[in-house]
């Protein structure tokens, strides 16, 4: 009896001591649970359900998944999505690294360069998309066509060319996104110690050799992190194609992410949207998993 009373007093003490902290963190816990954890679980449950509008009316087994994969568009969209990711790496991945290394070398006007590079990132996302939409405009009012025609060339259709529309969209995304990433790399490069470069100089390394032997290993950790973040973000790209082309011409710029939107809010079949979302989720989990494997290797190498 006495023991039990002591225990409950101790429990009471623990609650009283921790209650203020729990209360203050409750709003965050509430939001994270309902908006992130619960939605993630629900999307998996709903993807196995039969739905009418946004109401669950029954269990569907893997029917939704079969319908999504058998959709005539599925393979094309998967390929498109890989193309977005591929082009974003080709066009966008190395730009911030090169820029950061170059700016890091400068002793004149360095903060000016940082401001100029960051400027596009300071503009609102939609506005930059619209800006590029006008630059790509297919008649003489577009900036690129105006330049072409100044040189006496024919105007080009830009975003209406199904073959190149994806790299064009990626280019506009890079314009908006590269500045912030550059500053992250720059901050990392500022942490390279002088002695490492001096050691390389004693070994007779020229400028490019020093960059390769000293600067690259120093940023390998964050460059892998940025690679993974970029893949995660671009693989689920939805807003930019929606704003620029709405997936056109003839679905040439449709991505899986945009398809999840169309399934849910245009075709009103949210269960298919979530089934596709889960498929994308699994693909991206593989990427995240590979990141942890690779990161471990890098950390071991740097030891």
């Amino acid at each position: 009896m006495k023991m039990g009373k002591n225990k409950s007093i101790r429990l009471g003490n623990i609650i009283i001591r921790n209650l203020p902290g729990w209360l203050l963190i409750f709003p965050a816990l509430f939001c994270v649970y309902f908006l992130v954890v619960r939605t993630q679980i629900m999307s998996i449950i709903y993807s196995f359900s039969e739905m009418k509008g946004f109401k669950v009316v029954g269990f569907a087994g893997i029917d939704n998944y079969i319908r999504v994969v058998k959709d005539t568009m599925f393979l094309k969209l998967l390929l498109n999505t890989f193309m977005y990711t591929f082009w974003s790496i080709v066009i966008g991945y190395f730009v911030p690294i090169v820029l950061a290394i170059a700016i890091n070398e400068m002793v004149h006007f360095r903060s000016g360069f940082k401001v100029i590079t960051y400027f596009p990132a300071a503009l609102p996302g939609v506005a930059t998309i619209m800006l590029w939409y006008f630059m790509y405009y297919p008649d003489a009012t577009g900036l690129f066509n105006a330049v072409l025609m100044k040189f006496g060339l024919e105007p080009y259709v830009w975003l209406q060319d199904p073959q190149w529309v994806i790299p064009f969209i990626v280019l506009s995304m890079t314009w908006h996104g590269a500045g912030a990433t550059t500053l992250y790399y720059f901050a990392a490069l500022q942490g390279v110690s002088r002695e490492l470069y001096e050691a390389a100089i004693i070994d007779g390394a020229g400028f490019f050799r020093r960059i390769r032997a000293v600067a690259f290993p120093h940023i390998s950790g964050i460059s892998l992190l940025f690679l993974v973040r970029q893949i995660l973000a671009v693989f689920s790209v939805m807003e930019q194609p929606l704003q620029m082309t709405d997936g056109g011409p003839n679905n040439a710029s449709m991505s899986l992410g945009l398809q999840t939107y169309k399934y849910a809010f245009v075709q009103m079949k949210p269960q298919l949207s979530m089934a596709l979302g889960v498929i994308m989720f699994l693909i991206l989990c593989v990427v995240t998993f590979m990141y942890f494997k690779l990161n471990k290797k890098i950390e071991e190498n740097n030891m």
Binding site: L35, F54, E105, H108, V126, L143, A187, I222
Partner: protein
């Protein structure tokens, strides 16, 4: 001329050699010309194009600068498109976003860093894992929550509440706050606690004043995010009186306004952020370092 090289791979001794001087100034020129041309020129172009009239736009011999810059046209576009309305609703949404992420995220960061009740480690581990998880497929369940919030049965469509709640859920900001607060001395907090100050008082009277840089950074980034916020307002809000800038700018594409009007309207979408960037450029770019070094 002496060069004082600092953090780069080039040293002051290198710079006495001509080949490195050439290298240095080539990089300098490419950065300057390329940077201005690629990063700044498009914005200048769209503003100048907006001042041209329709005929001038299609006239190839017209040149880069419009014949005359009529500032009255800015007012014309502003009135024709009712931009006043969109500014008001966007500022309301942005203010709410900032308040929610600072109060909810800031308090979470404070608890994780300084109060540490039982179980905080699990919560932090969950938060950290969530930042690495892909977010595909959450759109529909989120929409369903906003339409009919579980247990409470509240319909949040046509309001800014969904955006505010999502701002409150910004896990990245919670971790940013926590990391910054870790740098504030525990002794000050302990002393206040011994004096009997409640947690909320410690947060507002001690943590906030001591951590102004992080509040500035989160506030500025949240504001910038709100000014360009598109998808959720686009999906959830149809009332014209609550339409925000990001959505309206997108809608220009399918509007009946002439090209020059549409282009000039982009000024309104960019103007608040250009001003904010000009005023707080150091804080914004320094904020990136806060995230880079500690996050």
């Amino acid at each position: 001329m002496k060069y004082k090289m600092d953090k780069g791979a080039l040293t002051s001794t290198d710079m006495q050699q001509t080949k490195y001087k050439i290298l240095y100034w080539s990089i300098f020129t490419i950065l300057l010309v390329g940077g201005l041309l690629i990063c700044v020129f498009p914005v200048v172009w769209i503003i100048l194009s907006g001042f041209k009239d329709a005929n001038e736009m299609y006239d190839l011999s017209a040149g880069f600068f419009p014949k005359k810059i009529n500032f009255g046209k800015i007012a014309e576009v502003w009135n024709a498109m009712n931009f006043y309305k969109y500014y008001v609703s966007t500022f309301v949404m942005a203010a709410g976003d900032i308040v929610f992420t600072i109060i909810v995220g800031g308090l979470a960061g404070y608890v994780l860093s300084k109060v540490k009740p039982i179980g905080y480690k699990i919560f932090f581990a969950v938060l950290f894992t969530l930042t690495l998880m892909p977010a595909t497929g959450r759109t529909v369940p989120l929409y369903m929550i906003f339409k009919n919030f579980p247990y409470l049965h509240i319909n949040m469509l046509e309001s800014f509440w969904p955006m505010w709640l999502m701002a409150a859920t910004n896990i990245f900001n919670m971790i940013l706050f926590k990391n910054f607060f870790d740098g504030v001395s525990n002794a000050i907090v302990e002393a206040a606690r011994i004096d009997g100050a409640p947690n909320l008082k410690i947060f507002f009277k001690i943590m906030v004043p001591l951590s102004m840089p992080i509040f500035w950074v989160v506030g500025l980034f949240t504001f910038n995010g709100a000014m360009g916020e598109f998808f959720w307002p686009y999906l959830l809000i149809t009332e014209p009186d609550k339409t925000v800038l990001g959505v309206q700018v997108y809608k220009l594409k399918s509007s009946t306004f002439s090209m020059d009007y549409q282009m000039l309207a982009l000024i309104f979408a960019m103007f608040p952020q250009i001003v904010i960037f000009a005023l707080f450029q150091k804080r914004i770019m320094g904020g990136i370092n806060v995230g880079a070094v500690k996050g």
